[in-house]
Homo-oligomer: 405 residues x 2
């Protein structure tokens, strides 16, 4: 197996003014003394709340595959308290972040094949490591070309049920007995070839359980996705798999707290957030939103971001008055897990492909619901009324004006 | 003016296993080299996004009052881009965190007077510093005695319109031309002496503009507040003051994203979160929730936490199987501002009274709404329907079960 030099993951492609470092965690580990770091980690990562997030040893086959493949591999464990009436329900979950190995100027078939080959390597390692549920980044099978507004990239769209990326995931799901969440650009031939941003959920027997379409579509920066597809029409499905109930909040939906909540109301224990987002725009939000969702909804979140810098054939402008250019900015990776008790793992690297693994005791979800009581104290009736009023065009905001002014 | 030794703010009272440090920020500044710290701060604090959070110089009268009074004083500035059709709308806003100076065994009148005297000092310094809108911590006029479940502490409840704490705030509002948010334990004599957890909003002319009652009441840890008062009945009012539109999300409401959203839908530009929360329970959540709210709702948040360790006369248990004890744990202060662009200030100290000041350009709220478009992409109609269905007792969650299992 040769070491690929993926497009945009080598140090040379860096992220310029954004610093080119691996992760904030690694910087803190390098400089903050251990007796102080424990306090920093308690406040910043929710560690040492009785349930430290511990590193987990992996089989040599997995670690050597990662070393040979040149990607980041990390593994942790979230623990729940023992219960008297239920055994622990520990699920091993994986997140994959990957750059596009071939340049965007290569023939499309070649680009897709290069990504498939790379991701197959990583998923095989996840299988060696015993991962039971795995999620890839948003539109993992193609460059994130929506910045260009060129419609030729629509060629990458494929059937959710029988496209080549779904077929690959089905093969790997069967091989490893693994549930795979497969976020793709979908072409919906049952509806005139409509395009959607879709996550296909494939069961551990290789069957397609169902799909979810991205609910919220951005219009910010170079995220010209509204040029390509519309708001999803699949609600907030939760998929009951062999290894737990999972939901998928795709990318920009993470900025919408009610989207996170929608999956929670339907019973999700793990919600994945497959994303593609760049450093200049969103990096300070990245450590916030997934964790807030995990806390507020008493479930685990697996947050996955694309990695690398993708260069496109034709220059485009970004609506910011700056000259036309050929790249979207740096996708900063940093995939991580967040738990309902406010703890989190460190992130994967900002510049490398990666596989993040965590053992999640799903019992923690109910334990946190019982501890904090957010569901019972949520007053959904009040908010149902407020929203029903708000969506009317003649909504009158509840404003109390100072009468003395 | 003598230096008081407030109950629980001296180093000696510390917070034991929680480390006794001033703030994570101060630790990072002490150990991380400046050329690395800039990257840490970019990711952790949203700085260097074109709008660094800059320290602001204050009048000598304010800084010397803080030095003499022995409390933490910090001041920052959040900037917005210049606009062509609107001038900047910069408001100077203050947050006060304070311990209880007298022991909880002192006569109640003496306890309240000691707090009034201390807070008067701090608000007078805020006036010298030109603060226009100020908010205090939750139930600032009394010890947070709800851990005890003893009803004698209800004596501290007072009229929202004419109680002694409201009177003091009215006097100081008139003196300094300042809007003051006054979170108190309210006794509602118009409804049979009912008790509420209430924020009274006092205008810069000293008049009571209105009040808001805490929407979500905790049942967690020693937060036995549901023993004392019920869920609020005032909706999500936004108060239109001389210096902007403000809302108040009281304490535990910060765990409820729809509560934050309620104030946003009604047009808030600044939402205060007056709180009282302790380190073992919530400290890793504290840097997350207010920032997530500021991002998701495109407004500023001023998050205020009580400070110090309060010891009560009679021992109580905490529902955790541990022996009866007399303290609630350490209220860790750490009050801060969060902005809609994901940036934040450093926190006030974890062990000292404090006054946090920030100049907020309110134009940033609309700028972030226009940039990110969260309001327009929010699909409130979908959520109004979901919640209307969910509140029915026979709601059927949207679950897709793997048919192969």
């Amino acid at each position: 197996m040769s070491k690929p030099e993926p497009n945009g993951t080598a140090a040379a492609t860096g992220d310029g003014s954004l610093g080119g470092f691996d992760s904030v965690d690694k910087m803190l580990e390098a400089y903050v003394p251990a007796d102080k770091l424990v306090h920093v980690q308690r406040v910043l990562h929710g560690w040492n709340q009785g349930r430290p997030v511990a590193a987990v040893p992996l089989p040599e086959a997995a670690t050597s595959a990662a070393a040979e493949g040149g990607y980041d591999l990390q593994a942790y464990r979230f623990e729940a308290a023992p219960e008297q009436l239920r055994p622990p329900r520990v699920v091993r979950v994986g997140l994959v972040q990957n750059a596009c190995p071939a340049p965007t100027t290569a023939p499309f078939a070649e680009q897709r094949q290069a990504i498939h080959d790379r991701v197959r390597q990583i998923i095989d390692a996840a299988g060696e490591a015993g991962v039971q549920v795995l999620c890839m980044q948003e539109a993992w099978h193609m460059p994130f070309a929506f910045c260009t507004r060129e419609k030729s990239w629509c060629e990458f769209a494929e059937s959710a049920e029988e496209g080549p990326s779904t077929r690959l995931c089905q093969e790997l799901a069967r091989k490893h007995g693994m549930v795979i969440v497969n976020p793709i650009l979908e072409r919906d031939d049952a509806h005139g070839g409509t395009i959607w941003n879709t996550a296909v959920v494939i069961g551990n027997n290789g069957n397609v359980i169902g799909k979810h379409r991205k609910n919220h579509i951005p219009r910010v920066g170079d995220f010209n996705e509204s040029t390509y597809y519309m708001e999803g029409n699949t609600g907030h499905p939760v998929f009951e798999t062999a290894f737990g109930k999972i939901g998928v909040n795709i990318c920009y939906g993470r900025h919408h707290p009610m989207n996170w909540q929608g999956f929670g109301l339907n019973g999700a224990e793990i919600v994945f957030n497959p994303a593609a987002t760049v450093g200049e725009l969103s990096e300070p939000m990245w450590p916030i939103e997934a964790r807030n969702a995990a806390i507020a909804n008493s479930y685990y979140v697996g947050a996955i971001n694309r990695v690398g810098t993708e260069h496109f054939p034709n220059a485009f402008t970004s609506g910011d008055g700056k000259p036309a250019h050929k790249d979207f900015g740096h996708f900063y990776g940093s995939s991580y897990f967040a738990a309902p008790d406010a703890s989190r793992t460190p992130p994967l690297a900002r510049h490398k492909d990666g596989l993040m693994i965590a053992d999640l005791d799903l019992n923690l979800c109910q334990q946190l619901k019982d501890k904090w009581g957010f569901r019972m104290t949520a007053r959904y009736d009040m908010y149902a009324e407020q929203l029903a009023a708000y969506v009317r065009h003649d909504y009158r905001p509840q404003v109390i004006k100072d009468p003395s002014l």
